[in-house]
């Protein structure tokens, strides 16, 4: 089973039926897999805060939702996380490509990578870092935790995780 199939299986098993994405090269496979699954409505967003608005609306409508985004976009979502997702106490799994880590070819990506965990910690968002391929085993539990707590939860997935080394 591919890692993409495995991830999307877990999303569906946790009743996530609405997903929004802003793409990243590292996330291309999982986005493609989402489009293959009729259980999930996929609404691509133009910006990540817009995507969080879509997810909040789906939640109000009774559907579990999730966002796929790149860590460089965390900055544009701070206000939305604080004043919409957290203020109204909504669950939101965030599957985030952690660009700017080991293996990164683009220096500029490092500039947001060094702030990523600090920003998430400042917002008191539970954060999990997938580095080894086997870390995916935690995804199901993280999703259950997110909906139990009704909080945004960040899953940072780095290049090593996607390459499948250190299994």
């Amino acid at each position: 089973m591919s890692i993409h199939t495995r991830i999307v299986d877990d999303l569906i098993a946790n009743d996530i039926r609405f997903m929004t994405t802003v793409p990243c090269k590292q996330l291309a496979g999982v986005i493609e897999e989402i489009d293959n699954r009729p259980e999930i409505r996929h609404v691509p967003a133009n910006k990540e805060d817009e995507g969080m608005g879509l997810c909040a609306g789906a939640h109000l409508g009774g559907q579990r939702s999730a966002i796929i985004m790149q860590n460089t976009a965390l900055g544009v979502t701070i206000n939305t996380l604080a004043t919409l997702i957290q203020f109204y106490r909504m669950p939101l799994p965030m599957l985030i490509s952690y660009r700017g880590e080991i293996g990164e070819p683009v220096a500029c990506q490092v500039e947001m990578a060094v702030h990523t965990k600090a920003l998430l910690a400042q917002l008191h968002i539970p954060t999990y870092h997938f580095h080894r391929r086997s870390d995916v085993e935690e995804l199901d539990g993280i999703l259950k935790y997110c909906f139990m707590a009704s909080k945004p939860v960040a899953i940072l997935t780095d290049a090593t995780f996607w390459k499948g080394e250190l299994a």
Partner: protein, 184 residues
């Protein structure tokens, strides 16, 4: 007419619908005019009313009316292509276009100058876009609901605000009673 006069006039139509209302004075006005559990008041997060409403309309079958503003749509312009390419039949985006940032002191927005929001919505792929004068809002909104077609309404009106109290209801209460109304 100013926004609060329009809201007073259309309150009997809104009462039976799921309403997502824009941040700031629009929500304060709607809350004071006719508070309903079917109203979702945005207390922060400028720009996302149209996105929240779209997610809500896609996730369940009841009609959704979003009360938005020109300034808020301008701050989240990416919403228009997303609406244009995903618009469900139960989604009505009503942009109260008074050409100003009402909640911050009526500073002018670009829609009072050269920018045409209805034209931008059409160019973004929204199929049913209507421009309405303030006095015609009620019949136009009712017609949009009756049509069963996803609609973007741009309501041209005067700049100005009614003085209403800040909403002190807890956001989790707003959300909880709204979700119960959605599910009922």
């Amino acid at each position: 007419m100013i926004r609060s006069e329009i809201l007073k006039e259309i309150a009997p139509i809104l009462r039976d619908q799921l309403v997502v209302c824009n941040i700031g004075i629009p929500s304060q006005e709607l809350h004071a005019i006719d508070d309903q559990p079917t109203n979702f008041y945005m207390l922060g997060t400028m720009g996302l009313a149209s996105s929240i409403g779209l997610g809500l309309a896609l996730a369940q079958p009841k009609p959704v009316v979003v009360i938005d503003g020109d300034g808020s749509v301008l701050t989240n312009l990416g919403t228009l292509p997303t609406i244009g390419n995903n618009c469900p039949d139960n989604y009505i985006l009503m942009i109260i276009d008074n050409g100003s940032y009402g909640s911050t002191g009526d500073q002018p927005t670009y829609t009072g100058m050269k920018t045409d929001l209805a034209g931008m919505a059409r160019a973004a792929g929204c199929e049913t876009v209507i421009e309405v004068q303030d006095v015609d809002t009620g019949p136009a909104l009712q017609a949009a609901l009756d049509s069963g077609k996803g609609t973007v309404m741009v309501v041209k009106c005067d700049s100005g605000n009614a003085k209403m109290p800040v909403i002190t209801m807890d956001p989790v209460v707003i959300r909880d009673r709204f979700m119960k109304a959605v599910a009922s």
